[in-house]
């Protein structure tokens, strides 16, 4: 065995779980992330507890991310993508490209003085988010005057640690690893694809992801149109799941919708919450009881609406087939939340080609039957939602399981 390095592609919660397990098991890990920050979707979600936990698992994420980032056995490469892979299990050669790091992670102390002096609007140099990890500023080439041929040097001059260097080029490097764990995650279904639901056109139609981020930032729900607290909210389940082109259940939407429903009712007991569903997924530890509790305060209607129209006042008229009454009903809500599911990443195909692994029918990476970790290429393992929908605990478990396979390869070789 040439070395004891493992490559983990993707710095979301699954990739982080894999990296942590391997690093704590004594191996060295390269964790590469396409974006400037790690944590993926899970890091942008919100806690859905009222005063009592609703088991959404979002709170387990930040400490894992921090642990991984400071772990001495984990080398984190952000802004990086895999270009080429050669070799075989035990000796993969992986070519990585890292976008130019105009701001050095080692030197940026996140003091924010660069943003203060940046003359563009919006700012070309900024912190990706308040909780960004690594906690470091980034420079957007598309906005920066420097990259438009101007001779602006304000941020560089203001930087107290000389962290900024416009001349940095993108970097290629070759990594030598024994196994590869793919943890590239998912994309959220684009609500706009179902035009009749009006997402993207009506301001008060949001997705589950929008809600997660709104609660994470603001801590409460506001109508995008006027900033007021919504009083009558509808959730529409299975948007982008369980249909002809996405023939699977996304596994998370029923749970987040019910958790949000309970949270909304807790914050505003006068609010009315309705959930339109096909089948409620109530399996899982303690969840059936949670559903019983939700039923007391939330209206559940079988059948999902097909059309939403905006009334003149900005309210939303939802047209749905009332199965119980056997007719088509219309009802008005001030906020409609589309419980969008998980879809495969559009760039999965590129990575599949580079690694030589297969894509399944639905576009997620494929595995052997009754095995959700191993791909058709020996030594390449899958972790998390790039293999299929999973909630946070299952993503973590899957990441750990992938780490176990990678570890097994090394143990066998010793």
């Amino acid at each position: 065995m040439a070395n004891n390095h493992v490559l983990v592609i993707g710095g979301g919660i699954s990739g982080i779980a894999s990296a942590l397990e391997l690093a704590n098991g004594g191996l060295s890990v390269y964790l590469i992330e396409k974006e400037a920050t790690v944590g993926g979707y899970a890091a942008s979600f919100c806690c859905k507890a009222t005063d009592v936990c609703s088991n959404c698992s979002v709170c387990v994420v930040p400490s894992k991310i921090k642990e991984a980032v400071i772990h001495p056995q984990i080398s984190l490469l952000t802004n990086s993508t895999v270009q080429k892979v050669s070799g075989e299990v035990g000796d993969f050669r992986v070519e990585i490209t890292q976008k130019p790091q105009y701001i050095s992670l080692e030197r940026c102390i996140a003091c924010g003085m660069c943003t203060e002096v940046c003359p563009t609007e919006p700012k070309a140099i900024y912190l990706p988010s308040a909780e960004a990890i690594p906690f470091s500023y980034i420079l957007d080439e598309r906005l920066c005057l420097r990259f438009k041929g101007e001779d602006c040097n304000l941020c560089r001059e203001s930087c107290p640690t000389n962290a900024i260097d416009f001349k940095r080029k993108s970097k290629r490097q070759e990594l030598s690893v024994t196994t590869i764990i793919v943890a590239t995650g998912f994309e959220v279904f684009d609500g706009r694809e179902i035009g009749s639901l009006g997402y993207g056109r009506y301001p008060n139609v949001l997705t589950g992801l929008d809600l997660e981020r709104m609660f994470n930032r603001e801590g409460l729900l506001k109508l995008p149109s006027n900033g007021k607290e919504p009083q009558n909210i509808a959730f529409i389940q299975c948007v982008g799941s369980r249909n002809e082109s996405h023939c699977y259940c996304s596994q998370v939407c029923c749970k987040y919708a019910m958790r949000f429903a309970r949270l909304i009712k807790y914050q505003n007991p006068n609010a009315e919450v309705t959930i339109f569903y096909i089948d409620l997924q109530t399996a899982g530890k303690g969840f059936a009881e949670f559903y019983e509790e939700c039923k007391e305060s939330t209206r559940f209607i079988p059948g999902v609406p097909v059309e939403i129209l905006e009334a003149h006042s900005g309210e939303l008229e939802v047209k749905f087939e009332n199965i119980l009454e056997g007719k088509v009903n219309r009802e008005v809500f001030d906020l409609v939340v589309l419980s969008v599911g998980m879809v495969p990443r559009k760039d999965s195909w590129d990575l599949a080609r580079i690694l030589g692994i297969n894509l399944g029918d639905e576009g997620f990476f494929d595995t052997k039957p009754l095995n959700s970790i191993e791909t058709n290429v020996e030594g390449v393992f899958l972790a998390g939602t790039c293999q299929g929908p999973k909630d946070i605990p299952n993503s973590i478990a899957h990441g750990m399981a992938a780490a176990k396979r990678a570890m097994e390869v090394l143990v066998r070789c010793r």
């Binding site: 507890a49 088991n55 930040p62």
Partner: protein, 129 residues
């Protein structure tokens, strides 16, 4: 501390509330500057005596901030903290200090707004507003 001060001592669990306070700072969400945060490994580490001592030394309010009920990494830490806060309230009432000046708050790591609201509420309470 002077008795006229309006200082609040906040015992913050490092798994949740302490991170929340950092998040609030990072978001530049401003809150009253009379709060002094003491980091603890779990709200369950906070003892009645720590709370009493804070008042003895002149604090006007004490917040014990831990994880959401049911989400304590140590299972019972936050519920124990809640009981102790209740006990401390009773002991403080015996010495003539309004029970509302000590409070248990349950937070998740992302609840910056809630943290600020609690600090503001306690500040208003002790300033008699």
């Amino acid at each position: 501390m002077n008795r006229e001060d309006n200082k609040i001592v906040a015992f913050c669990c490092e798994h949740s509330a302490y991170q929340v306070a950092n998040k609030a700072g990072k978001m530049r969400l401003h809150y009253p500057d009379n709060v002094r945060i003491i980091r603890v490994p779990c709200a369950g580490r906070v003892d009645v005596q720590h709370i009493l001592k804070a008042f003895e030394k002149g604090a006007a309010g004490v917040l014990v901030m831990g994880c959401q009920e049911g989400a304590c990494q140590h299972l019972t830490g936050n519920t124990r903290a809640k009981e102790r806060v209740k006990y401390a309230e009773d002991l403080l009432k015996e010495v003539g200090i309004d029970g509302g000046r000590v409070k248990m708050v349950n937070l998740a790591p992302d609840m910056a707004q809630r943290f600020i609201r609690e600090v503001k509420e306690m500040t208003e309470k002790i300033e008699g507003r």
